[in-house]
Symmetry: C2
Subunit: 97 residues, 2 copies
Amino acid sequence: MIRHIVMFTWTEDATAEQKEAVAAELGKLPGVIPQIRALTLGGDAGINQGNHDFALVADFDDVEGYLAYRDHPRHQAVIAEHIRPILAARAAAQLKV
Amino acid sequence: MIRHIVMFTWTEDATAEQKEAVAAELGKLPGVIPQIRALTLGGDAGINQGNHDFALVADFDDVEGYLAYRDHPRHQAVIAEHIRPILAARAAAQLKV
């Protein structure tokens, strides 16, 4: 299995509406990209300071499945239209589990 | 459920032995801290550039379970003895799922 993990910190002027749109649009991707086996996403719970604002964990059967997601036009559209306009910082890793 | 996610980038002079010790010591924690319901960890798969070097995803029933892990002396010892000496950058978030 490949577990893809990514976190975002939003710009200071990002609105609640813009942040909610990221979660909503990413949440639609399992209906569009069948290679996604599991998807967890959401805003940071606010337990600790210094955290990123948003995180996503997505599981795939293999590297090919992850790449199908990474490069899918619908995913790329969410990145271009919803994520990049409010992105201040990004952290990512993919684990072979 | 609380899903805790953390990523590390290691210092350039970190040895393979030191990196492996982090994974090995964190991997022992489910045997010591029963609040950990699931644990995934490992080195970045090397698919993409600009990633962190290591990631960990840990699931807990609730915030109290996560805090028991976060503040557990054995976890704190792993951080102090194995992680901090080779830590260049850290990214974290906790999600309420």
